[in-house]
């Protein structure tokens, strides 16, 4: 198992204690394409933050590739994020004053990769995503779809074990959304990349192979969706 969650609990203590995750048990294997679905407030974002080592959990155990992820120092957490996890965000989270290629290079910069080498790799990834011509453009000169593809390139460049996507199509129109999901599907299919998508859109979830439903901090149903029949709106569209 690549990811193992055992009875993970998380409570926020901002005034009123809020028990967000109430004993999550979840196993995800290498090469899986999973979506985590739930309404807002269901705890899916918190789960994603814990999976991405951006947040701590209170009790339970979380293993990535057999490594226990618990009580890490900030430095260690940063290192694990850098080497094991690629993030794709709803709002792209590109750095505005850096060009596309510089944004893609950044994770390699934190690995201490030499300037030439990382530039070359970044160009390679941009090229694969069809953005080679846009390498020297700044994020504000690009469309939403292009920005998200730059973000995907940035997530992939360190060859992570897991790609975590938080509402990756949330800010995109339906046509671009379909393109991005197809891109993720392709990555999963062709490179056996483990991808976890958090979404509340059934169309997005339908593009994945497994749908984990989360409600009130508890995992409900786990749906096998290899036939992509989960969406009521057809298999190839995303309803906005």
């Amino acid at each position: 198992m690549l990811i193992e969650l055992k009875d993970v609990n998380k409570t926020y203590n901002n005034g009123q204690p809020l028990h967000v995750l109430k004993g999550i048990n979840l196993d995800i294997d290498r090469g899986e394409f999973v979506s985590i679905m739930g309404a807002s407030g269901s705890g899916k974002s918190t789960l994603l933050n814990i999976l991405g080592i951006l947040d701590n959990y209170d009790t339970g155990e979380y293993y990535i590739d057999g490594k226990l992820i618990k009580n890490l120092s900030e430095k260690q957490a940063a290192d694990y994020r850098n080497r094991m996890i690629g993030f794709i965000f709803q709002s792209y989270n590109l750095i505005g004053f850096k060009t596309a290629v510089e944004n893609v290079e950044l994770p390699l910069f934190y690995q201490g990769v030499a300037r030439k080498k990382r530039h070359q790799m970044a160009m390679e990834y941009l090229d694969r995503l069809g953005l080679a011509d846009w390498a020297t453009h700044y994020p504000n000169e690009m469309s939403g779809g292009q920005k998200q593809r730059v973000a995907i390139a940035r997530a992939l460049i360190t060859r992570p074990q897991i790609v975590l996507a938080d509402e990756p199509t949330g800010a995109l129109d339906s046509k671009t959304s379909v393109e991005i999901m197809e891109l993720l599907q392709q990555l999963n299919r062709e490179e056996q990349m483990t991808i976890i998508v958090v979404t509340h859109e059934s169309g997005v979830a339908n593009a994945t192979n497994k749908i984990v439903h989360i409600k009130d901090g508890i995992i409900g149903q786990i749906e096998d969706n290899r036939e992509h029949q989960a969406s009521a709106f057809g298999t190839t569209t995303i309803m906005k």
Partner: protein, 441 residues
């Protein structure tokens, strides 16, 4: 390294005006520091001109007036030093420290050369005096042992008085180092060298001029030298001498000097039937301790100037710190992204610290450069002018510049200050939690 500078440049480029305004405060601080230290140096140099030429291991002793009754004698009695005091000083008693003792005797005389004359003070002296007072003989020679032994009637005149005797004597400050001086009244040029070997008349005696010393406006320029023995025979008052000077060794601290002076004073006082602890019976001018005190004063002045300069700089540092805090706040979201993709807290901290140090160092160096230019301008203007006090030309500032040590010191200050200014904001940036930072806009 290049990456760090690229990041800093990107950040600074986005906030040019803000950075420049902040940088100005730093520049101003360092500018003030450099100018203050430069002016302070100039002031100190002006004070010390002349005195630095004197050997520092000598003490001069002169007679005074008793201030307390002793041994049946009333206070207020005049003490004259005598040959016996010279012998005492040179005796076994003080042999541990005293090297060489010379005495002087002198009187006011008029020196005639043809129709020209000047009034001066003839001081009977020993050859050793030249070394002790670092007297610079420009032409001819100083008094030598043979003069002393044979009671020769020779004199060593200061340059300006030699000019007077030759009918020159221009007091133009520009001419003080010139061999040929231009006489504005008579319009003739005089060569003081021509006076060497000539005889001048002092009272009823003829003295041969054997040397010309450099005269400077800081010291007595109407004092001139003749052999001690000669002056003593002609003008002496029995055993009495004017003062005595001795060189010493092995007194390295202020305390050691004080202890020696105490012992010495007691011995000499007793010879003259004065109270051993009477500090007015004889006067002791210890150039070594004087020099120590001068150096102490110099250090205090310099410390005070550093403190003022650093306090001025502090304003600039607070400004940089403030700007870095704003920068951190503005870039919280960006830091969140960086952390999410693997930036360690230290790498974020480094980013802010490097920016802070760069801004401080860059503008600091601009300020330092301007400060040094200002010092040079000061040197070329005020540093070249003199002011006339009681007929004496006194330079207000001499060489008011700062040395390499100050520049290096200021560099250290800038780097420390920049680090200090960035430390708090950088810590704040490093402590940003990524999920909260990502939420911030």
């Amino acid at each position: 390294m290049r990456d760090v500078f690229t990041e800093i440049w990107e950040s600074v480029r986005r906030n040019k005006l803000r950075t420049c305004l902040t940088g100005f405060a730093v520049s101003w601080g360092i500018f003030m520091l450099i100018v203050l230290l430069g002016a302070g140096n100039g002031l100190m140099n002006a004070f010390l001109t002349g005195s630095e030429d004197i050997a520092t291991n000598t003490m001069q002793v002169g007679g005074g007036r008793t201030s307390k009754p002793y041994d049946g004698l009333k206070e207020g009695r005049r003490i004259w030093l005598e040959d016996g005091d010279v012998a005492l000083t040179g005796s076994e008693l003080f042999a541990d420290h005293v090297d060489q003792v010379i005495s002087t005797v002198g009187t006011n005389v008029t020196v005639n050369y043809g129709k020209r004359y000047f009034s001066g003070y003839i001081e009977g002296n020993y050859p050793a005096r030249q070394e002790m007072d670092k007297i610079e003989v420009r032409y001819g020679r100083f008094i030598n042992d043979k003069d002393i032994r044979e009671n020769r009637k020779v004199v060593v005149l200061p340059e300006n008085q030699a000019e007077t005797l030759l009918g020159g004597g221009s007091r133009d400050s520009g001419a003080r180092f010139a061999t040929l001086s231009f006489d504005s009244s008579s319009g003739i040029e005089v060569d003081v060298r021509s006076l060497i070997g000539k005889y001048v008349k002092i009272g009823t005696f003829s003295f041969r001029v054997v040397g010309i010393t450099k005269s400077d406006q800081m010291s007595d320029s109407n004092l001139f030298y003749a052999p001690y023995t000669t002056v003593k025979i002609i003008y002496g008052k029995g055993k009495e001498i004017d003062d005595l000077t001795f060189t010493f060794h092995g007194l390295d601290s202020e305390a050691a000097n004080e202890a020696f002076e105490e012992q010495y004073r007691a011995a000499v006082n007793l010879r003259h039937r004065a109270a051993p602890d009477d500090r007015r019976a004889i006067w002791i001018w210890n150039r070594f301790t004087q020099n120590l005190q001068m150096n102490k004063g110099r250090r205090i002045l310099s410390t005070a100037l550093w403190i003022i300069g650093l306090l001025t700089l502090l304003g600039g540092i607070v400004g940089v710190s403030n700007i870095m805090l704003i920068t951190v706040k503005e870039r919280t979201h960006e830091f969140g992204i960086r952390k999410a993709i693997g930036a360690s807290p230290w790498s974020i901290m480094k980013l802010i610290l490097a920016e802070s140090v760069s801004i401080t160092a860059f503008f600091g160096y601009v300020g330092m450069l301007l400060g040094m230019i200002a010092c040079m301008v000061l040197d070329k203007t005020v540093g070249q002018s003199t002011m006339s006090v009681m007929d004496e030309q006194i330079a207000m500032l001499v060489n008011p510049t700062v040395g390499l040590d100050v520049a290096l010191g200021a560099t250290v200050v800038l780097i420390v200050a920049g680090t200090f200014a960035g430390l708090f904001p950088a810590r704040k940036a490093a402590q940003v939690r990524p999920i909260e930072a990502l939420r911030a806009e």
